[in-house]
């Protein structure tokens, strides 16, 4: 009998569900959702590649003429990703972060193999003679690529 009272009580109170997808909940700032990679901040140290348990990330770098490592390609094979966040923890330049994107499924595995397109890879520094060369391309507007967002959410 007490059970009946309980259910009647609950029926008359407000439901706790949120009417998704019309209203969405806010996630915590450290939430481990989709990835966001800033090529401009990346120094090509490959710490994320070594930290990943499933070899999802592959970083392609080339050593430029000024002996500095430059990023030429960054690929993630997201079908194997565990979303554990070990790569984000390994990066000490904050070039790879996790956002609160949750629509990460797709109908085709090929869509989940993502890489940054050519135009977003920072250009090699202009080859000028020695000392007064301009600082390489750490531009003010860091070009970002929201990985795992619009392409895969179809």
């Amino acid at each position: 009998m007490r059970g009946l009272r309980v259910t009647m009580g609950v029926m008359l109170t407000k439901p706790i569900t949120v009417e998704y997808p019309f209203k969405k909940l806010k996630f915590a700032p450290v939430y481990r959702g989709g990835f966001c990679f800033y090529p401009a901040k990346c120094i090509g140290c490959k710490l994320c590649q070594t930290a990943c348990p499933n070899k999802v990330i592959s970083v392609k770098t080339v050593r430029g003429e000024d002996k500095k490592i430059r990023l030429t390609g960054y690929e993630m094979d997201l079908q194997y990703c565990l979303y554990c966040g070990l790569c984000v923890e390994a990066c000490n330049k904050d070039a790879l972060v996790m956002t609160d994107q949750i629509k990460l499924a797709s109908y085709d595995r090929q869509v989940l193999k993502i890489e940054i397109p050519e135009e977003l890879i920072p250009a090699p520094p202009p080859v000028t003679a020695r000392s007064t060369a301009a600082a390489p391309a750490k531009t003010a507007e860091s070009t970002t690529k929201n990985v795992g967002q619009s392409e895969v959410s179809q």
Binding site: G3, L4, V6, T7, M8, V10, M11, T13, P15, I16, T17, E19
Partner: protein, 355 residues
């Protein structure tokens, strides 16, 4: 109370009109057939409405919302479900006993339809005021167990077989206390006809307590309610359709329109049991009648009372859990039958006092 027994006079009008161009016997037959179709429509509409109400009520009791998206407040949900079920492929597994498999949903639906024929929706809206209406109701109510057993056995599936056996055991055991509880109300009314039973509850005591039988035999009402839950297979007696044990019991192999028939029959039965309970114990269509549309108000009161009881059934469904099979049998034979016999003795005493 104003006199509500003036009928609409539909019989004379319609049969008279039809006799104009068809022989009289055909007009009668057509009238009856039309009335039957009307009942079928009523059952379907009721089932639609009840399914929606069930989902909403259960949703709110579980601190969530029920259907929301289909139509404003999800009102079109059942219609969408019906359309979905109708356009599904009619799958008949290979090794089933075809005759039984196909016939089972129709038997169950047929029994549900028949019991609606004697429900007194209003003083004049009773399809067939049989002299033995109560007996008719009980008889056809138990026909459903045939259908369930046919469905369970014919499905060539061990889960369905177990479900079918359980349902027969359950329905048969709970017939006895149900009939005994009904007997109490019949004794007080003095007749088996549904209309007479409702008429016998007319009037008031002390000016404000209506003369409903529930006040004279509350025990009978409780017993009837519990047995009614068991007859239709609702929690806490939903062993035949135990969702977490036997995937869907006798329902496992059915899909599409056949499943829809079982489903409709279940909700129709639910309403029929509540309607019977209001007829017997809660005074049927009695209630204050207002001058605006005086022929509609008894119907409204009847529906309101039946809906309230159906709500109670849904409430119980959300809250309680199901019995084990032997506990259920114990409950029926060791507890309910003695109580209902006791109820009859008490009612006999009351009859002696009143008459």
């Amino acid at each position: 109370m104003p006199d509500v027994t003036q009928g609409l006079g539909a019989y004379e009008v319609i049969v008279g009109w039809l006799s104009g161009f068809t022989p009289h016997w055909l007009a009668e037959v057509l009238y009856r057939v039309g009335a039957g179709l009307l009942i079928l429509t009523l059952i379907s509409t009721l089932a639609l409405v009840l399914v929606y109400i069930l989902r909403k009520v259960m949703g709110h009791m579980q601190c969530r919302l029920g259907p929301r998206v289909t139509g404003p407040f999800g009102l079109l949900q059942t219609a969408a479900d019906a359309v979905k079920l109708m356009q599904k492929e009619d799958i008949i597994p290979t090794n089933v006993d075809r005759f039984l498999f196909i016939l089972a949903p129709y038997v169950v639906f047929f029994s549900c339809g028949m019991i609606f024929m004697v429900l007194p929706l209003s003083p004049t809206w009773i399809l067939n005021d049989l002299e033995v209406g109560v007996l008719f109701f009980v008889a056809f109510g138990s026909l459903a167990s045939f259908g369930l057993l046919m469905g369970g056995f014919g499905s060539n599936n061990k889960y369905s077989l177990v479900g079918g056996m359980r349902s027969v055991a359950q329905v048969v055991s709970y017939e006895v206390p149900m009939v005994l509880a009904i007997l109490g109300a019949v004794m007080l009314a003095g007749s088996l006809s549904m209309h007479q039973i409702v008429v016998a509850q007319e009037g008031m005591w002390l000016g404000f307590i209506p003369k409903w039988f529930i006040f004279l035999q509350p025990l009978g009402f409780v017993i009837y309610f519990l047995c009614g839950l068991a007859e239709t297979g609702q929690t806490p007696f939903d062993l035949p359709e135990g969702e977490s044990e036997l995937v869907a019991g006798y329902n496992t192999e059915y899909s599409g329109m056949r499943f829809a028939l079982f489903f409709l029959a279940e909700f129709g039965n639910l309403f029929a049991i509540s309607a019977m309970a209001t007829t017997l114990f809660l005074g049927g269509w009695h209630g204050p009648v207002f001058s605006f549309l005086p022929w509609l108000w008894p119907f409204v009161w009847f529906m309101a009372k039946a809906m309230a009881l159906t709500f109670c059934m849904m409430w119980v469904r959300s809250t309680w859990l199901r019995f084990r099979i032997d506990q259920m049998m114990d409950f029926a034979w060791k507890i309910l039958v003695p109580l209902s016999l006791l109820n009859i003795f008490i009612t006999a005493g009351e009859v002696a006092i009143i008459r």
